[in-house]
């Protein structure tokens, strides 16, 4: 499985309140959530984002609330992968459980810039910055998590057991 797209770049501690503020949590419809995604940190994100695009951020991405609405909104926006130095743990679980690919890679998170075109190979964990010609090795998932991602989420994984 591969992803390719243009990068939207953010800093440290992007919390789930800015990814999808609570005032929009009276909906659980992915499309509706996507229409407000990142609104409190990047108002123009919803206009700029294109299917396949990639979010790159620094440490502790997705900190705060357990709202699965956050990775759901990101996924429904068309984002194909989130690369970060580290993820907050509930966001990390939620992303795996709903089948939103995420990769931890400190170097890539630091060096990739907004607008770069980046390619990710999920099987090898290799992140390739086509714009700059640089390559990074992201952390591959443990086998158990790979199985969940391959099943496109925890629910399918359990159903298949």
């Amino acid at each position: 499985m591969k992803a390719f797209g243009r990068v939207h770049k953010y800093g440290d501690n992007v919390d789930t309140d800015v990814i999808i503020p609570a005032r929009y949590l009276n909906s659980s419809d992915p499309k509706e959530l996507a229409s407000k995604c990142m609104i409190d940190i990047d108002k123009d994100f919803v206009n700029r984002v294109k299917p396949g695009d990639i979010i790159v951020a620094n440490k502790n991405f997705g900190c705060g609330s357990s709202r699965e609405h956050a990775p759901i909104a990101i996924k429904a926006s068309g984002i194909s992968c989130v690369i970060a130095e580290t993820f907050a743990r509930i966001f990390y679980r939620n992303s795996i459980n709903i089948g939103l690919p995420i990769i931890e890679c400190a170097e890539a998170a630091k060096e990739i810039e907004a607008g770069d075109e980046v390619e990710i190979d999920f099987d090898s964990g290799v992140i390739y910055n086509r714009t700059k010609g640089t390559k990074y090795q992201g952390q591959a998932f443990p086998e158990f998590m790979q199985k969940i991602i391959k099943a496109e989420g925890l629910i399918n994984y359990i159903n298949n057991q």
Partner: protein, 421 residues
């Protein structure tokens, strides 16, 4: 090498003699929790599953607390989905608003969590129950759906940071000040993926409500859970509130910790977290002159009886500053009633505060106290992220009930000592 308290509880629930940090395990769950924001998503996910019945109708707790009493039509629809699911699945622990409360104050009060339990909740502050010596952690809605169906969840066994608490905290230093101090020290990702294990004789000076506050905010340091040893006070609490059998687990003497911090509680001062991260802490003598528009006292962090008693002690015989909005939320119906019987609510109302029914409302910018652009609030809640309590240009300062109540009187961020207390 030995195991931490968290690791021992997880091993016991995974049917394993021994677990080590980083190991992936599947553990049996004693309780699965959801609220009106997260449960409807979980219920939708569960509809896709082959298993259609919950694993144990007594081991699910559903609490409509976030946008209740229903704030708008969409929220009412979500509450209805949860209510109908609870009826259909004959869930024992569904709490309609007349018997409800903010979930993390309600569950221990109802005796649904005891020492030794493994609990997941589709709410990040599920880590609160570590105060009772349980392993409890926040998850998302899909984990909740899987947990409701199978009674199991997958975990990566965490390593731990040990916090040795010594000394006796000063008069106006509470659990909130202790946890804000710790978050200020280690940062909002200082305990990422890890357990925070609190030990030391300083704990004997902390009430159960202080401990709930400390464990509650473990997530604000990125932790998987926060946990306390089970002492006489915790046992007494469980005996008063629960018929469930508790089990006391203790960390091995040779358990390994990533780091150990020794914190002398007698040296701590009331502490405030400035916008927009809980780690931006300053002691009360360093806050400067910050005028405020609103004070919120309540939430799963600080809406318990001790918190209200402290706020009432500060507000007794005093008046809220002119032009300031002060909103007080007892965390559960039982706390509300007790606060009424003790005369605390009368104190609040006479001082010029409003008292609301239990709800998470303002803490997450849902309803019942939203901030306009440029406004500032002192809140006893848990997060001060951008836009957390309303407009993206509003600000939240996190503090203890004592500081929030004193600030209510002066109209700026103040400690109780400024009032001569």
């Amino acid at each position: 090498m030995g195991m931490t308290m968290t690791q021992i509880i997880l091993a016991a629930h995974a049917g394993l003699e021994k677990v080590t940090a980083g190991q992936l395990i599947e553990a049996d769950l004693d309780l699965v929790l959801g609220n009106d924001v997260t449960a409807p998503v979980a219920i939708h996910e569960m509809e896709k599953m082959k298993i259609q019945k919950v694993f144990d109708k007594d081991k699910i707790a559903l609490v409509p607390d976030h946008f209740t009493p229903n704030k708008d039509i969409k929220s009412a629809q979500h509450c209805k989905i949860m209510r109908e699911f609870a009826m259909d699945q004959e869930i024992t622990n569904y709490f309609e608003i007349g018997e409800m409360g903010i979930e993390h104050a309600l569950l221990p009060e109802k005796g649904l969590v005891v020492a030794g339990d493994v609990v997941i909740g589709a709410d990040s502050h599920t880590c609160t129950y570590g105060a009772l010596g349980a392993f409890s952690t926040g998850v998302g809605s899909t984990d909740m759906a899987a947990g409701m169906a199978t009674g199991k969840a997958w975990f990566k066994v965490p390593s731990a940071i040990k916090f040795v608490l010594t000394g006796k905290p000063g008069k106006w230093v509470s659990g909130k000040d202790i946890i804000l101090h710790i978050i200020g020290m280690i940062g909002v990702d200082g305990a990422l993926y890890k357990s925070m294990e609190f030990v030391g004789e300083g704990i004997t000076h902390l009430s159960m409500d202080d401990r709930f506050t400390i464990a509650n905010m473990a997530i604000e340091a990125g932790a998987k859970n926060g946990i306390f040893p089970v002492d006489d006070l915790a046992i007494q609490y469980m005996k008063e509130h629960s018929k469930k059998e508790y089990k006391i687990y203790e960390a091995d003497e040779d358990a390994s910790y990533d780091e150990t911090y020794v914190i002398d509680l007698s040296k701590l001062k009331p502490t405030v977290a400035f916008p927009h991260l809980p780690e931006n802490t300053r002691t009360i003598d360093q806050v400067g002159d910050i005028k405020i528009d609103q004070v919120v006292i309540g939430s799963c962090t600080n809406g318990r009886l001790d918190d209200l008693r402290i706020a009432a002690k500060v507000l007794e015989g005093r008046k809220v500053a002119k032009g300031l909005r002060v909103i007080i939320f007892p965390a559960t119906q039982a706390i509300y009633l007790k606060a009424m019987e003790e005369g605390l609510l009368a104190t609040f109302i006479k001082a010029g505060a409003v008292v609301s029914t239990p709800t998470c409302g303002p803490c997450l910018g849902g309803h019942m106290g939203i901030l306009a652009a440029g406004e500032r609030a002192v809140a006893t809640t848990n997060r001060n992220f951008v836009g957390r309590m309303g407009h993206v240009e509003s600000e939240v300062y996190l503090a203890s009930p004592a500081v929030a109540a004193a600030s209510a009187v002066t109209g700026k961020i103040s400690g109780p000592e400024e009032l001569g207390l």
